[in-house]
C-alpha cells in the first residue's frame, strides 16, 4: 500500500513538474510590425521559432498612422504587443508614458553583440539618462532620376540645386513633353518643403533656448518655399493631380517613373528599392535606367533628415527575456540580408557591410540633418 502511494505521489509530482516546466518554457509573443514586408517578416519569424522551440511569435500589423496612439492606449491599460515597431522619434514619448522597458532591464538577459554604441541615432532612444529602444532601421530621402528621360532631353549632368531642378524640369517638358520633377503635394509635401527651407537657411521650428520651440523661418522664407513647389503645378511642369497625392509610394508617382513619363522624384530608401524591384520584374533583362543623388542645395548645402525605426519591448510584457531574444534576432545581420532587404540597418557594423548598387549611391551619400554627427549612411 505504501509502495502504491509513493508511486502515485512520484507520478503526480512528475506530471506537475512537467506541466510547470512547459509553462516556463513556452512563451507566446506578439510582434507588431507595421511595414509592408509582412510575408518576409513572417518567414524571418518562422526561422526564429525554429531556433527557439519554446517561443511562438504572432505577427501583428496595423497602419503606421494609428500605430503610435494605439500602442499608447493599450499600454496604459496593461495591454499591447510584447515587441513593438515604432518610429525613432516616438521612442522618448513612449518612455515618458512608461509604455516601454528601459534597455538596462533587458540587457541582463543577453548583451548586444557589438554593444549599444554600434547603433546610430541612440540619442533618440534616451529618456532621463536611460536608453529605451533599439534603433532598428535607418532611412532618409534622396533624389531619384530616370536616366534615359534625362538623356532624351539632352541633360548630361544631374541637377544639384533647386534652381537647376526647376530648369531641368522645364527643359524636359519642352523637349520630351514629359514631366520633369514631380512630388507628393498633399500631406508629405512636408518632406521636400523642409529640405528646401533647411537648404536655404530656414527651419519651420527651432529650439528657443528655454526648453521650448519657436518658428525658425521668416514669412518670406516660408512663402518662397511654398511658391517654389506650387510653381511646378501652376506652370504645368507637374500634373495638378499631385495635389491629392499623399506619399511618394503612391501608384501614380511610381507608375510615372516606371513607364518613363516622369524623370525626377524624391523618396525614401525602401520606396526606391521597391521601385527598382518593380522595374526589374517588368524588364528582367534590361539595364536599369535609374540613378540616385543627394538632395538639392539652396543658398546653403543640401540637407535631408535621418529617420528610422526602433524596436521596443512593451513594459507590460510577461515575457521580457523572450521578447529581448526576439529583438536581438531581429537586429541581426541575416534579417537585413535575407528578409528585410528594402531597409538599411541602424547599426554601423551592418551598414559597413552593405554592398550598395551603383544606382543606390545617392542614398548612401545622403547627409543626415537631424544627426549631423552621423555624417551619412555611407561606409
Amino acid at each position: 500500500m505504501r509502495h502504491h502511494i509513493l508511486t502515485k505521489l512520484l507520478l503526480a509530482g512528475t506530471v506537475l513538474a512537467m506541466g510547470a516546466g512547459s509553462v516556463l518554457a513556452d512563451a507566446n509573443l506578439v510582434f507588431r510590425f507595421n511595414d509592408s514586408e509582412r510575408d518576409e517578416m513572417r518567414a524571418a519569424l518562422d526561422e526564429f521559432e525554429a531556433a527557439n522551440p519554446g517561443i511562438k511569435v504572432e505577427l501583428q500589423t496595423i497602419a503606421w498612422n494609428d500605430a503610435r496612439d494605439q500602442f499608447l492606449r493599450e499600454s496604459a491599460v496593461g495591454q499591447g504587443p510584447d515587441v513593438v515597431h515604432i518610429a525613432f522619434v516616438w521612442t522618448q514619448e513612449m518612455a515618458e508614458a512608461e509604455a516601454i522597458m528601459p534597455l538596462d532591464e533587458l540587457t541582463k538577459y543577453g548583451e548586444l553583440p557589438n554593444g549599444f554604441d554600434d547603433f546610430i541615432a541612440t540619442d533618440l532612444t534616451m529618456y532621463e539618462g536611460k536608453a529605451y529602444g533599439l534603433p532598428w532601421t535607418a532611412d532618409t530621402w534622396a533624389m531619384v532620376y530616370r536616366t534615359d528621360v534625362l538623356a532624351d532631353a539632352g541633360i548630361d549632368d544631374l541637377p544639384t540645386t533647386w534652381a537647376d531642378l526647376r530648369k531641368d524640369s522645364e527643359i524636359i517638358k519642352e523637349k520630351t513633353g514629359k514631366t520633369g520633377f514631380s512630388f507628393p503635394a498633399a500631406n508629405q509635401v512636408w518632406f521636400p518643403a523642409n529640405y528646401y527651407l533647411w537648404s536655404n537657411g530656414g527651419s519651420f521650428i527651432e529650439a528657443d533656448g528655454n526648453g521650448g520651440y519657436k518658428v525658425g523661418a521668416t514669412r518670406e522664407q516660408i512663402a518662397d518655399d511654398m511658391n517654389y513647389f506650387k510653381g511646378y503645378i501652376d506652370d504645368g511642369l507637374a500634373p495638378r493631380s499631385i495635389l491629392s497625392i499623399d506619399e511618394p509610394q503612391d501608384p501614380a508617382l511610381m507608375q510615372g517613373l516606371l513607364d518613363g513619363s516622369q524623370a525626377m522624384a524624391l523618396m525614401p530608401t525602401n520606396t526606391y528599392r521597391q521601385l527598382l524591384g518593380a522595374y526589374e520584374q517588368a524588364h528582367p533583362d534590361e539595364k536599369i535606367p535609374f540613378n540616385s543623388g543627394i538632395m538639392m542645395a539652396g543658398s546653403q548645402a543640401p540637407q535631408t533628415h535621418l529617420g528610422g525605426r526602433t524596436l521596443a519591448v512593451n513594459a507590460n510584457t510577461e515575457h521580457p527575456e523572450e521578447a529581448w531574444k526576439l529583438v536581438q534576432f531581429l537586429s541581426s545581420a541575416p534579417i537585413f540580408e535575407k528578409y528585410y532587404t528594402n531597409q538599411f540597418p541602424a547599426q554601423k557594423s551592418l551598414l559597413s557591410k552593405i554592398e550598395y548598387r551603383p544606382e543606390e549611391l545617392g542614398f548612401a551619400k545622403e547627409p543626415g540633418r537631424s544627426h549631423p554627427h552621423l555624417g551619412c549612411l555611407c561606409r
Partner: protein, 306 residues
C-alpha cells in the same frame, strides 16, 4: 409587511426597469461623467498611467478662443451639417415622391427602383468613401476620365484636394450614402396619406402643387421634422466621411469638430482638451434639440395635421 396592490405594481415596474437603468448608467452615464472629468484635466496620452491634473475650464477657454475655432465651427455647422442635411431632405423627398408616383407604378418599376435606392444605404460608409475616392481620383478615376474624354476639361481635377471642389465632393459622398434612409422613411409616411383627401381636393379644383403644399407636405412634416433632427445630430457628430475622404485637409481646410476631437486626442495626444471639445459638441446638440422641439415640435406638427 404587506404592500398595497399599487405599491406592488410599482415595485414590479421598478425591478423590471432596473437592469435597463444599470445598463444606461454603466454604458452611458459613467462614460459621459468620465469624459466631463477628463475635460477639466490636462491629461494626455503620455500621462494615462500617471493621470492628469485639474485645470478648471482652461481647455474650454483655449478651444473657444483658438484661432481655428471659427473655421472649424463654420465647416461643421454650414458645410457638413446645414448643406448636407438640406440636400438630403430635399433629395429624399423627391425620391419618395417619385417612388410613390403613378408613373413608376404604371411602368412596373416601383420594386426595382426601391431596391436601387436601398443599395447606397446598405453600403458601409467606409466602403462608400473608398469607392468615391476612387471615382474622384485624378489619375485613374472614371469621373475625370469621362470629363476629359468628353472635352469638358483638359487637366484632371483633384476633387478631394482642390479647395473649390473638396466640400462638394465630401457632401456628394454623404448624400449618396445617406439619402436613401430619408427617402424610404418619407415614402412610408407618404403611403399613410389617405388617397381620398387628394381626390376631394382635386374635385374642389386644387392643382397638383396645391395638393402637395396643403395636403402632402403637412402630413409629411412630423416625419421630416424627426428625420431632420436625427440627421443634424448624426451629421454634426460625424467623423467618418471627412476623415476618410480628406483627413481634414487639404491642410485643415475641411477640419470639423469631430476630426478636431480625433486630431487633438490622437495626434497631439491631448485627451483632456479633446474631451472638452466633445463635451462642447454634446452641449450644442442638446441645446439644438431642445430648441428644435420647442419651435418645430412633434405635437405642433400633429396638431397641424389634425
Amino acid at each position: 409587511m404587506t404592500l398595497s396592490p399599487k405599491m406592488r405594481t410599482r415595485m414590479t415596474v421598478f425591478w423590471m426597469l432596473l437592469p435597463t437603468f444599470l445598463i444606461l448608467i454603466g454604458f452611458y452615464l459613467f462614460p459621459t461623467l468620465y469624459n466631463l472629468e477628463l475635460s477639466f484635466s490636462d491629461i494626455t496620452l503620455l500621462k494615462l498611467k500617471k493621470g492628469g491634473d485639474f485645470v478648471g475650464t482652461t481647455n474650454y477657454t483655449e478651444f473657444l478662443t483658438s484661432s481655428s475655432f471659427r473655421d472649424i465651427a463654420i465647416n461643421t455647422v454650414f458645410w457638413l451639417t446645414a448643406i448636407s442635411v438640406s440636400v438630403r431632405i430635399v433629395l429624399g423627398l423627391l425620391f419618395a415622391l417619385l417612388l410613390n408616383s403613378k408613373f413608376l407604378k404604371s411602368m412596373r418599376l416601383t420594386t426595382i427602383a426601391r431596391l436601387m435606392l436601398l443599395v447606397p444605404w446598405a453600403t458601409p460608409p467606409v466602403v462608400a468613401v473608398i469607392a468615391w475616392r476612387w471615382l474622384f481620383d485624378p489619375t485613374y478615376g472614371p469621373i475625370n476620365s469621362w470629363l476629359i474624354s468628353s472635352g469638358l476639361i483638359s487637366d484632371p481635377i483633384a476633387f478631394t484636394a482642390n479647395l473649390a471642389t473638396v466640400w462638394p465632393a465630401i457632401i456628394t459622398i454623404i448624400v449618396w450614402n445617406t439619402t436613401p434612409l430619408i427617402g424610404v422613411s418619407l415614402l412610408a409616411a407618404l403611403q399613410t396619406i389617405p388617397e381620398d383627401l387628394n381626390e376631394a381636393a382635386a374635385i374642389d379644383g386644387a392643382n397638383r402643387w396645391q395638393q402637395f403644399r396643403f395636403i402632402t407636405l403637412p402630413y409629411l412634416m412630423p416625419t421630416i421634422s424627426v428625420l431632420t433632427l436625427m440627421s443634424v445630430i448624426w451629421t454634426f457628430n460625424n467623423f467618418v466621411y471627412v476623415w476618410l475622404t480628406t483627413g481634414a485637409g487639404p491642410g485643415t481646410f475641411t477640419n470639423v469638430l469631430a476630426t478636431e476631437v480625433y486630431m487633438k486626442a490622437f495626434i497631439d495626444l491631448r485627451i483632456g482638451y479633446s474631451a472638452a471639445i466633445g463635451v462642447s459638441m454634446a452641449v450644442v446638440m442638446a441645446f439644438f434639440g431642445a430648441m428644435y422641439f420647442r419651435y418645430f415640435g412633434l405635437t405642433e406638427m400633429q396638431d397641424k395635421v389634425g
